[in-house]
């Protein structure tokens, strides 16, 4: 049993600033959890507190049923894979992988057997007698992983282990890590600032910002229902369009008014939730992929976009343009169209927005205005 329980854990630095503040989180045994956030958000610090490499200033950390606040790292039975890999440069791959077993008093025979097994699992059999300096980046990454696996720890802590790999290798290792987790079934925390890794690898994402845990949940749940503007902006690229608009009650329907003809009707399903905010300024959040070139039945509502830039990526087209505005400057909107769309910069085109997955945010508190989620229903 290696669940992890953080109970209002904080990290206070001597200069009085908080690295991590009041994080409450329970990670179940065998779960694969992602810590996601911009650099300096406290995600790596939290990981190191779980590993015992940084002290916990306040709060309690449990691994399984045991309070680990004062337990040294060597007695926590966790393994960390570092961004730098942190291979011991003076040892061969074999010695690197066997070091943890040796420290734990395994016999030479046992060390040899487990090292060979793990090396075979990761395809490192040929490299066992090399020094880390003689390995490629991808091979080092595998050795670091192997060093963690061979000890059979209760918990894997991965601190941006893929960030030093090139795009292609990163995509491969992403899949491989997921397969490995499925096979070993150990509790795993993976720290990253990469949205793709976050969306695809874990059972759950924990989004952190300035030391606080902002939102935790299944990837597609967070994607569909971000709790605030930060999450809405952070979780995808191109990010969600966030447009300052006015919400008003007109002739029995609730209207999102972006000025100068940029008007949408709130879908019937959300009217009850949004009606209390009628007559106020809100932030209208619309993902670029919820904008279509052609109408999608009754789901979508048309609007006119003055196209300022067309980025043809080959597989798809990213359109930037302006629409509405009126009182303030025109609103900048990004749309994600299929690569078959034919649009030129300078044109004004009619596009079709799907309002059902869209969100409204409070411009002051920056939090999402609650509405029934589509996720459970869909």
């Amino acid at each position: 049993m290696a669940s992890i329980d953080l109970r209002s854990v904080s990290k206070l630095y001597p200069n009085g600033s908080y690295g991590v503040r009041d994080v409450d989180l329970r990670i179940e045994n065998g779960e694969f959890v992602i810590f996601l956030g911009p650099s300096g958000c406290g995600k790596s610090t939290t990981l190191r507190m779980i590993a015992g490499l940084e002290s916990i200033s306040a709060g309690d950390l449990f691994i399984g049923d045991r309070n680990m606040n004062r337990v040294p790292p060597r007695d926590r039975n966790v393994a960390v894979v570092f961004q730098s890999y942190a291979l011991y440069p003076h040892m061969s791959v074999r010695a690197n992988m066997g070091f943890g077993l040796k420290m734990r008093g395994a016999t030479g025979e046992e060390i040899a057997r487990k090292t060979e097994e793990t090396a075979a699992l990761l395809g490192l059999g040929q490299l066992l007698d090399r020094k880390p300096a003689a390995l490629s980046g991808g091979q080092r990454q595998r050795v670091a992983l192997g060093r963690a696996i061979v000890r059979e720890p209760d918990v894997f802590l991965l601190d941006e282990p893929l960030s030093n790999l090139d795009a292609q290798l990163r995509a491969e290792m992403r899949l491989e890590l997921v397969k490995l987790h499925r096979r070993l079934g150990r509790t795993t925390i993976h720290v990253t600032h990469d949205q793709v890794e976050a969306m695809t690898m874990g059972d759950r994402i924990c989004i952190m910002r300035e030391g606080r845990l902002i939102q935790a949940g299944r990837p597609l749940d967070i994607y569909a229902d971000p709790v605030n503007l930060f999450v809405a902006r952070f979780l995808a690229s191109p990010a969600m369009n966030l447009l300052p608009v006015r919400l008003s009650q007109e002739a029995g329907s609730l209207v999102i008014d972006g000025g100068e003809g940029l008007r949408f009707t709130v879908p019937a399903r959300h009217v009850a939730a949004y009606a209390p905010h009628a007559g106020t300024q809100v932030i209208f959040g619309l993902r670029p992929e919820d904008i279509y070139e052609a109408p999608q039945g009754a789901r979508t509502q048309p609007f006119a976009l003055r196209v300022t830039a067309v980025e043809a990526l080959g597989a798809e087209i990213i359109l930037s343009g302006t629409a509405g505005g009126g009182t303030a400057r025109p609103l900048e909107i990004t749309a994600r169209l299929s690569r078959h769309a034919r649009v030129q910069a300078g044109e004004t085109v009619t596009l079709h927005a799907d309002l059902l997955p869209a969100h409204l945010f409070d411009p002051v508190s920056e939090t999402a205005i609650a509405r029934p989620s589509l996720r459970g229903a869909a």
């Binding site: 190191r48 060597r74 393994a79 960390v80 570092f82 942190a86 003076h90 070091f99 420290m103 060093r147």
Partner: protein, 274 residues
Amino acid sequence: MSADADKPPIARRVALHAGLIAMCLAIVLPLLWVLRVSFVAPEQSYSTTLLPGFSTQNYQALLSGRFGRSYLNSIVVSLGSVLIALPFAAMTGYAFARFSTGGRFARFLMLATQMLPPVALVLPSFTLLKGLALTNSLTGLVLVYAALNLPFLTWILMGFFKAIPVDLEWAALTDGATAWGAFWRIVLPVSLPGLAAAGVLGFILSWNEFLFALVLSGPSTQTIPVALAALQTSNGVQIGNVAAGVVLAILPLVVASRFIQRFLVEGLTYGSVK
């Protein structure tokens, strides 16, 4: 077009190299002269012949006298002081580098001790050693040199330890090592080049030290610099003996430094802006 199009014109290159060779000779010739004088008989030291005949007479004369003993003294003192200072320097340097022990002030204090004029330290050292009945003893010199070397070695090793990523130690800690185990099994082996470089530098400092050796040693415990000075003043300058003495004095430095040249040149970068 040639493979490398940007060499300067040939005439300029010839002139440049001629100048450079002349300057190199200016540096190297005196050293070669010393080598020559040491290997010819004393009466021919000033002869104008290039090599009037090979002779080890100077060396024999030198080593049959007190110089042989001095040579041994220097080796004992230099090696001993480094062996005593290095472990302490390693631990202090590691504490400074990794835990910022004592903060900026402690580091500055350590650096400040290096700035005191040696002349001001000689008398107190003498008084201290006298109290311990260690004047004119190699033990006393070893202790004093170890103390003199300690801050310098600590400073150098602090730099080396700082350059070792803390991730390595963290990996060792989670792998099951204690803090001491991580230092001993990971940090020390990784910083071996630094330890070697620091050790050799400490050895050289002790080997060359003159002032303390002069004041604190007696006839039977004098080191090479004192012996060399004696050769130059006692009964007129015996140029042959002096040359042989200089060659012998430099010999271990040449050996030691060639051995760790790579570490010294690669590993020692005194300054770096942040």
